[in-house]
Amino acid sequence: MPQSPSLSASGSASPGLARILFRRSEIGLVVALLAVILFFALASDTFLTVRNLTNVLGQASLAMIAGVGVAIVFISGEVDVSVGSLVAAVAIPLITVMNATESLALGIAAALALGLCVGIVNGFLAAYLGINSLITTLGTLFILRGGVYLYTGQKAIPDDVMLESFFQLGNGRLFEVVPYPALIAFALLLVFAYVMRHRTFGRKVYAVGGNPEVARLAGYDVKRVKFTCFIISSLLATVSGILLASRLGSAVHVAGLGFEFQVVAAVVLGGVSLSGGVGSLFGAALGVLILSFLSNGLGMLDLATEWQLVITGFIIIAAVGFDEWKRRQP
């Protein structure tokens, strides 16, 4: 059973920017990310441009936002794979309400409402009824996707009102440089990283995931903590879904197919353990960035999809294997 890192989390108040941002386990990831960037910078002359780097940040932000939520669920000792269908499902209330009311705010509210419902269902089934969370969320993954197909008749729902604000949300850039999705992702990452590291709730999540028995003895309401984690995860995936809908300009029934694999792989790559209680949100974010830069860079090298799949697979094995090996060292 891994040690609960909550103790070290509260004790790491030593100065130094690097130390504040990243703990030791994350330095390996930063090095890996820099290595990936360096490799592609040397291999392709179009990789290391401001335009391309900011592009990748924008592209990574969807997986990063959902990844923060999934990582929190992982840390609490549960799993959430329903996010792949959820990002497609929330676009339906978003677009239909927007088409009906011409209000972005109402559309977003409707999307968040659906996300909240899904989170409540997942959380209730997994935390309170005690159904294994992989099964629960695999079930909701199927149900939501099937529901989207049934509701839309397997057609995309186009955005008829074409609000400029909605277009800008996923496609615009601050000062024509930084994509808005990247800013939103970074802001959410900072907020939740702060919560997980410095608030009681974060400590509870680590404790519940690290050792539920001890957490229970310490007086934490284990079920409620897990329930909350599922709601956070669904709401964050909803934000990803809203940004995706803006980038796609419609509610696309096939959006997000396989997104759950992408997010889970990135989060685990970032050192968040599936067995609970271990990992950090910065690690998860770094995992997402590594995979995004890898995918972008391999594309720049004009490598076909099949090679990209093979290389990404081996890199996941190598990276997670290395991480596990490091963890076993005294």
Binding site: T46, R51, Q59, S246, S250, V252, H253, F259, S295, N296
Partner: protein, 343 residues
Amino acid sequence: MRKLLIGLLATSAVAVMVTGSAFAEKMPKKVGYVVNYATHEWYQNVIKGMKDRAAQLGFEVEVKDANLDAAKQIAAAEDFMSQGVDVLIITPVNEDAVVPLLRRAKQENMPIVLEGNPVKGMTTLVAICDYDTGYHAGVEAGKYAKEHLGGKAKVMNVGLPLLSATVLRSNGFMDGIKTEVPDAVMVHDLDGGGNPDRSFEVSAAALAQNGDVNVIYGINDSSSLGGLQAWKAAGKSQDDLLVVGTGGEGLAFINAIEKEPSYKIEAAMFPEKVGFTAIDAAVKLYNKEEVPSWIVSPTTPMLGDGWKKYYSVDGNVRTINWDAVNAVKAPDKCMKTAADLKK
């Protein structure tokens, strides 16, 4: 092998140069193609046609694969734009999902050729007519049914309701077959997912429910073959059966026509020609020439050995006969399009 291919390309290049009007035009340096699903045989051959044509005209086509992921498609197009290609060609994963992308491309003056289906705000589209393809194959199937199947047509449609293009093919097939056999019926309307194992599974269940079928129509080759395999696995004889495939995507249909007695009609869609036409359209856009908003790429039903006119096979490589394919006339307008489905 490679030399042989280059040789073939060179000869076909000469043939094309004569017909093409590309001499006076400025050539782009690099054209980017974001394909929706590169591992599919159909798109493999579209890409082949593009690369052939671009090689003839002396420039480069670079391909990025969205792998059926709408979000990845946008990312790939973004990457191309920041890499600085001269023209983008896109086969949308979903038509509605590229509307914002077209808007951004317009802001950056990036010309875009679409392949597949029309999209709001597009400049030009290269596409086959899906309805017409199904329709003409349907007419031929009707004639065959009159001659060999006693004038009856009970159709199992191994379809794919997910895409408007494939729905159009199925509708066209039924409308076409009814021109010859007015009381033709669709006994089963299935979702075979466009892949062979799923098609097999749903066809097996459907045939068990009601095996009184004498025509199997597949919206692509995998679907028709999956349906046929289910027929064979149910222990039925192919004597009074007609199988009609669509696409002519690779070697699978050639193999089936050669070996399966019931596989008689293939609606050829010439993916290579689609790629060829898309590159020509890209060159025109680059030169800021007027292009029609809808460029139709030809299709035609091939009966029995008819495929040999358009393709030759050497081992595992099939080679297109450009002369024959370029001679197939395309209609100016499709009989029906996706817009008609929404009505």
